[in-house]
């Protein structure tokens, strides 16, 4: 194995001429040279089809009527009812759709942002800073992930009932503001993607800890932060049990509101699945935004100086 020369790196800072105009695609094409082959696309195609299939199947049922799901000869082409079903979801008085949608968007955004901020801070410390007890604390945090959360509702509810915060969207947000998972993720990512030389270079240039964090850590963490934001958002969005218990029915989140579509001895799945698809749309929009953050790593190129 050839010995690796020390990695040349660059920080795309505002001071570099033409930094903004440098196209990301350009760089990787020049560096990577060859384009991906057909096999890659075929492989990805298989992945995509299996990922999208369930959505298509849901759409098939959501565009049919109540008996479509039981129909053994269900056609593979969509029926015409999707808009009608979607409208009945949105207009159903028991399902406070727009309020639930707003509650979900608001709480999921706050939670995801908070988790990213706190996790990046703590992850930076665990990954790159030296302090007493670092190893033990990190191990402790990871160990807490091993305790199942299904029972956590009980003491949390007692806590929030005592505080008088039941029925309040804050009761959804506050327990989720920190995430051991997020800290672990940022720690591992930062320890892998930020070479110590970079930090030393910054220190040599006279930066304090916080400035080092700001110029090196936060910049390096961007792809991981985008990922963490996405994951946390989706988890918060789909969370059912705790919002069900702690919020009151007048101001639910979306999964709780949509579960009401199943309240009857007989369930019309075409409406339920239309609702499910509606609830996924905001997430898909988020994907489009967050996805751009994941397109390329930021650290590519030669180290300065």
């Amino acid at each position: 194995m050839t010995s690796l020369s020390s990695p040349p790196l660059a920080i795309i800072e505002e001071g570099i001429p033409n930094a903004k105009r440098r196209q990301r695609g350009d760089r990787t094409t020049k560096i990577r040279g060859m384009r991906a082959g057909t096999w890659v696309y075929i492989g990805l195609g298989v992945v995509i089809v299996s990922a999208i299939f369930p959505y298509y199947w849901s759409f098939l049922i959501g565009s049919g009527d109540a008996s479509t799901i039981n129909d053994p000869d269900m056609s593979w082409l969509p029926g015409g009812n999707f808009i009608a079903n979607a409208l009945s979801v949105v207009n159903d008085p028991a399902v406070n759709f727009w309020l639930a949608l707003w509650n979900s968007i608001f709480s999921s955004t706050v939670i995801a942002a908070s988790v990213v901020v706190f996790s990046t801070l703590a992850g930076w410390a665990f990954a790159k800073l030296r302090f007493r007890g670092r190893g033990w604390l990190l191990a402790f945090i990871v160990a807490t992930l091993a305790v199942p959360t299904q029972l956590g509702v009980v003491p949390l509810y007692i806590l929030f009932a005592d505080l008088g915060w039941t029925g309040n969207i804050g009761a959804i947000i506050i327990p989720a503001l920190t995430s051991a998972f997020g800290v672990f993720w940022m720690t591992q990512y930062l320890s892998q993607s930020v070479p110590d030389e970079l930090i030393e270079a910054a220190r040599v240039d006279g930066a304090s800890m916080i400035r080092t964090f700001w110029t090196v850590g936060v910049v390096a963490a961007r792809p991981a932060a985008a990922m963490l934001f996405l994951f946390t958002f989706v988890n918060a969005w789909n969370n059912f049990f705790w919002p069900f218990i702690v919020l009151d029915r007048q101001s639910p989140t979306l999964p709780v509101a949509l579960s009401l579509l199943q309240s009857n001895y007989f369930v019309d799945y075409s409406i339920v699945l239309a609702g499910v698809l509606l609830a996924t749309i905001p997430l898909l929009i988020l994907f489009a935004f967050a996805g751009r953050q994941l397109v390329n790593g930021i650290m590519a190129g030669a180290v300065k100086g």
């Binding site: 690796l4 020390s6 560096i31 991906a36 492989g43 990805l44 992945v47 995509i48 990922a51 999208i52 369930p54 959505y55 849901s58 799901i69 053994p72 706190f118 801070l121 703590a122 410390a125 800073l129 030296r130 670092r134 604390l137 945090i141 992930l145 091993a146 305790v147 199942p148 959360t149 029972l151 956590g152 009980v154 003491p155 806590l159 327990p175 503001l177 920190t178 800290v183 672990f184 993720w185 591992q188 990512y189 320890s191 993607s193 110590d196 006279g206 304090s208 800890m209 916080i210 994951f231 989706v234 579960s259 699945l273 994907f287 751009r292 994941l294 397109v295 390329n296 790593g297 650290m299």
Partner: protein
């Protein structure tokens, strides 16, 4: 914080000795500030997390620990101390051991293929492909799907009588598979549901890490004549070591706590009439929220915790041995430092 003017590299007692020779400067007030900056600011960075975590994260855990030694009444919010009785009861239940078997089986059937597939998909996505954002985000689509939809889809697919898979099998002349009767096949079906949901997620985590590997490494290796596989094995994997550790540990923890998929596998949520697909967390949930016996459920949670800790440590050990750290930028161990040349 003001930028201090020191030229001295960080030298707290835990950090590795500085590379190269830099003469220490004279101690000054700003230097002292800088030392405090070094020593205490890490605690400032982690304290927001810990403060919040202590309240909403640790409190439930401590509560669970306390009530695991009690006969706890949810409504009256009180309990009588019974020592280890709840633990002993659980360990004496055949259902517990069945659930343990199921949990391990589903864990292995899901984690191993999932991780291999995730690495593979991440490697594909790391390549220079057109419409990157589209491909990368679409592998995450399964993760987003609401559980009720996943449950419907897969129970339709794996229905014993009318499911899609059995229909296809009978059409090509094979026997239908008893998905809801045989333990092994139920594990396969559930592992499929789990893999469906989480493979894309793990792939993106690995992708984010792969993106941080400098391209110059690959360039140099290509120049030296290494093929794609060699590059992957010798450059990508070692650089991913911290992330691989992360993925394997979270997959272990998550895999041993699988709950939603077995619960949705049939409409009773009990893991099958003979507990064919009852996992430990599902068993825990049914004891806690089904019978409202929270003391017992808490004891089971802690038994699971110990199991996860053990398996997690084993997996961590295996991963560290398997994946060499040559290309990584993590902590510099003394042994490795000698090999790195500046």
């Amino acid at each position: 914080m003001t930028a201090t003017d020191t030229r001295r590299p960080p030298t707290s007692s835990d950090s590795p000795p500085p590379r190269g020779e830099r003469a220490p400067r004279v101690l000054s007030f700003s230097h002292k500030l800088s030392r405090w900056d070094l020593k205490f600011s890490p605690y400032l960075y982690i304290s927001p997390f810990f403060i919040l975590f202590a309240i909403v994260g640790l409190f439930p855990i401590a509560f669970t620990a306390v009530i695991s030694f009690q006969e706890w009444d949810l409504v009256r919010n009180s309990g009588t101390f019974v020592g280890f009785d709840q633990y002993i009861w659980i360990l004496g239940q055949p259902q517990f051991w069945t659930a343990l078997r199921n949990t391990f089986s589903i864990f292995l059937l899901s984690s191993v293929p999932q991780l291999i597939l995730a690495i593979f998909i991440a490697a594909m996505l790391d390549r220079n492909i057109r419409a990157k954002t589209f491909w990368r985000m679409s592998v995450l689509l399964p993760f987003v799907m609401a559980p009720v939809a996943v449950a419907l889809i897969f129970s339709n697919m794996f229905g014993d009588n009318h499911g899609l898979v059995n229909n296809v099998l009978t059409n090509i002349g094979l026997n239908p598979i008893p998905w809801h009767k045989d333990p092994f096949w139920s594990h396969i079906a559930i592992a499929t549901m789990v893999n469906f949901r989480w493979t894309g997620y793990n792939a993106l985590i690995l992708l984010a890490a792969m993106q941080a590997v400098p391209r110059e490494y690959y360039e140099a290796a290509t120049v030296d004549g290494a093929n794609a596989f060699r590059q992957f094995w010798s450059i990508t994997l070692p650089s991913l070591r911290p992330t691989l550790i992360f993925v394997i540990i979270t997959a272990t923890i998550g895999g041993l706590q699988i709950f939603d998929e077995p619960r949705m596998f049939d409409n009773t949520g009990e893991g099958g009439p003979a507990q064919q697909w009852l996992t430990i967390t599902l068993y825990l949930y049914n004891i806690g929220w089904g019978e409202f016996n929270f003391g017992r459920a808490a004891a089971l949670a802690w038994i699971l915790f110990i199991i996860i800790l053990l398996i997690g440590l084993i997996n961590l050990f295996i991963t560290r041995r398997l994946v060499r750290d040559e290309g990584g930028r993590g902590e510099i161990t003394p042994r490795r430092r000698k090999r790195v040349q500046r």
